[in-house]
Amino acid sequence: MAEIDVKKYVEFLQKYDGEELRLMEVCGSHTAAISKSGIKKIISPKIKLISGPGCPVCVSPSAFVDKLIELGRDGAHIVCFGDMMRIPGKESSLNEEKGKGLKVDYVYSPMDILPMAKENPEINYIFACVGFETTIPVYTLLLDAIIRDDIKNIKLLTALKTMPEAIDFLCANDAKIDGFIAPGHVSVITGTKAFYEVSNKYKVPMAVTGFSPKELVVGIYALTKTCINKDSFLKSGKSLVGNYYKSVVLDEGNTKAKDNINKYFKKGDAIWRGMGNIKNSGLYLKVEYSKYDAGSFDLIEDYKINKACRCSDVLMGKISSKECPLFKKYCSPLTPQGACMVSSEGSCYQAFKNGD
């Protein structure tokens, strides 16, 4: 992107004085990248950047954490991504339980569980599988290896989610979003085409966007332009979904990865923390692989830590973090009252940390 001089696009976004536009990013890395870029401080107040349910860790319901703790107490070693450690279950988190003796390790890659399991055949390992389409293929490679090497002491507890269904849910539920900054890394796998259906259904523009400050400017500029010119786009039959992250995102995405996902997983309903059940937005191990599942079905309880927490409205783009009455008063990274404040990719956390 080095070659694009973004100055004039920044200027455009600064001077924008048309109808108020509400643009939502649905990727945690975008939430973080937008915060770091400081872009909110320079674009027109008429362009509102809103964070959606983009952190796969945050949207895991409390039942998922509780199940991990239960498995750990039964003697299994839990392996997870670092962010997972602090997510609250109904009464506790992996972090707190670790201090009480639960065996929990965090790793860079799910594949790191393989040498652990091979070295300690007497220990049962559970990987806490969270993630959207970006991460799900990684679990399929893990499954490939488990099956190939006939490893008997690894199971997966899954809380896997898919993006297009979540966007559909937001649009269907009155989220009042004018356009979506489509998730860059999810799109690497799904391809831009995966968003055509929902975009067509709700006539909502989407811009697949990268993560550097310049890429953000380009994506937001493009999305704004598409919103403004939506009618022309529709008239001309041009898709409202634009790809501005072409270096890695193809229309078809990564077909090998998609095939792998289809090999191991099937669609099903899923609970998103703070949002409830979204039809067909989850992926679950198929029956023929159920012996690798540690009990991922029916993890439906979604315990609310603080009744006043407005996570669900934040995730739905209905309010910004600042508008929650608990924000910075009772709710902080030290004392999170809701899921959005817990993971470093959560929208309230980012709003807190980067002073948005």
Partner: protein, 330 residues
């Protein structure tokens, strides 16, 4: 609140812990500055020492690790005749520790510091993997008056050895809770500030002082006898041990002479000052049960030794503690 790894990150969680627990209790101007390093008045000659405390359980009859970590370091300073002044503390907390427990410990530190007349000027907190344990390092600085020379090399034949009180209470307390033996023994953990400052005030010519901690009386005296190249003769029936501690030792095959204490010291003075010294000590806080337990002698053979004449007239030679396979007591 449960303490997790995040509280040791050096960020907001750590600050929270420091503000809410440490600064609140160690309420003094220096600590409130929250600098990485304290700048404070000094003195021409200073004493400096450190000890880490890893006792389990961290709260026990008669005290806790907070009281202990102040007493341990303060007493080491006092034993060289220093006026104990400043303490730094390094907390190593295992994840899973309860912040309520930590508050009690820190409160106890603050109270003991007050009693001992020291201020806590700097601290550090780390959180490690584990199961809720708390370890504390303290380092201390004291001021030493010019001309004072109290050291382990100064034992002189003819000196008398005063022990400030009963042996074994701290050790038996810790071990009792570890071994599930119920009794009413309480730790003797205490700062010996009053004893030492009174002795100095009365201008007693102290040759040597040593707190009788890990390794017990036998180890401490053996080390001193070797440093000064003298023998020490002890009178077994003078050495004060409570009946409860004596039987506790009997049960576990231990010897009170090797049991650790945290509020006892031996003070060695010339024979002609021993009477007055004993009186001063007995009139000081934590010195009520002081007794003269032995005498420094010329070295009889080529190796310094500490010995006891037993009730049947036998001679028992003491040595430093070998391994007694005990759990940690300090």
């Amino acid at each position: 609140m449960i303490i997790t790894m995040a509280h040791g990150s050096g960020g907001a969680f750590t600050s929270e812990l420091i503000d809410k627990i440490f600064v609140k209790e160690f309420d003094n101007e220096t600590v409130k500055e929250l600098e990485d390093c304290a700048v404070i008045p000094g003195s021409k000659k200073i004493a400096m020492t450190t000890d880490s405390f890893v006792v389990k359980p961290i709260e026990y009859p008669g005290g806790d690790i907070g009281r202990l970590c102040i007493c341990g370091t303060v007493n080491d300073l006092l034993m060289r005749g220093a006026k104990a002044k400043y303490i730094t503390c390094g907390f190593i907390i295992e994840e899973g520790a309860n912040s309520e427990t930590l508050k009690r410990i820190v409160h106890s530190m603050a109270e003991t510091a007050k009693e001992a007349g020291v201020i806590i000027v700097a601290g550090d907190t780390k959180v490690i993997d584990g199961n809720g344990g708390i370890m504390i390092n303290t380092a201390g600085v004291g001021f030493v008056e010019e001309g004072l020379d109290i050291s382990s090399r100064n034992l002189t034949p003819g000196d008398l050895v005063i022990l400030s009180g009963n042996l074994g209470d701290h050790h038996a307390t810790i071990l009792g809770s570890r071994m599930n033996i119920t009794n009413s023994i309480k730790s003797d953990n205490a700062p010996l500030t009053d004893i030492v400052s009174n002795l100095l005030k009365e201008k007693i010519n102290i040759h040597t002082m040593r707190d009788v901690t890990r390794g017990g009386l036998a180890t401490v005296l053996t080390e001193l006898s070797r440093s000064s190249r003298v023998d020490i003769k002890l009178e077994e029936d003078k050495i004060p041990v409570s009946n409860a501690v004596r039987d506790f030792c009997g049960l576990l095959g231990l010897d009170p002479l090797y049991m650790g204490n945290e509020g006892k010291c031996i003070i060695v003075v010339p024979k002609n000052e021993a009477g007055k010294a004993l009186e001063v000590i007995r009139n000081s806080k934590y010195g009520e049960n002081a007794v003269i337990i032995g005498e420094v002698k010329e070295m009889a053979e080529d190796k310094a030794c500490v010995y006891i004449e037993t009730e049947i007239g036998g001679k028992r030679i003491l040595d430093v503690l070998q391994d007694e396979g005990l759990p940690r007591i300090c």
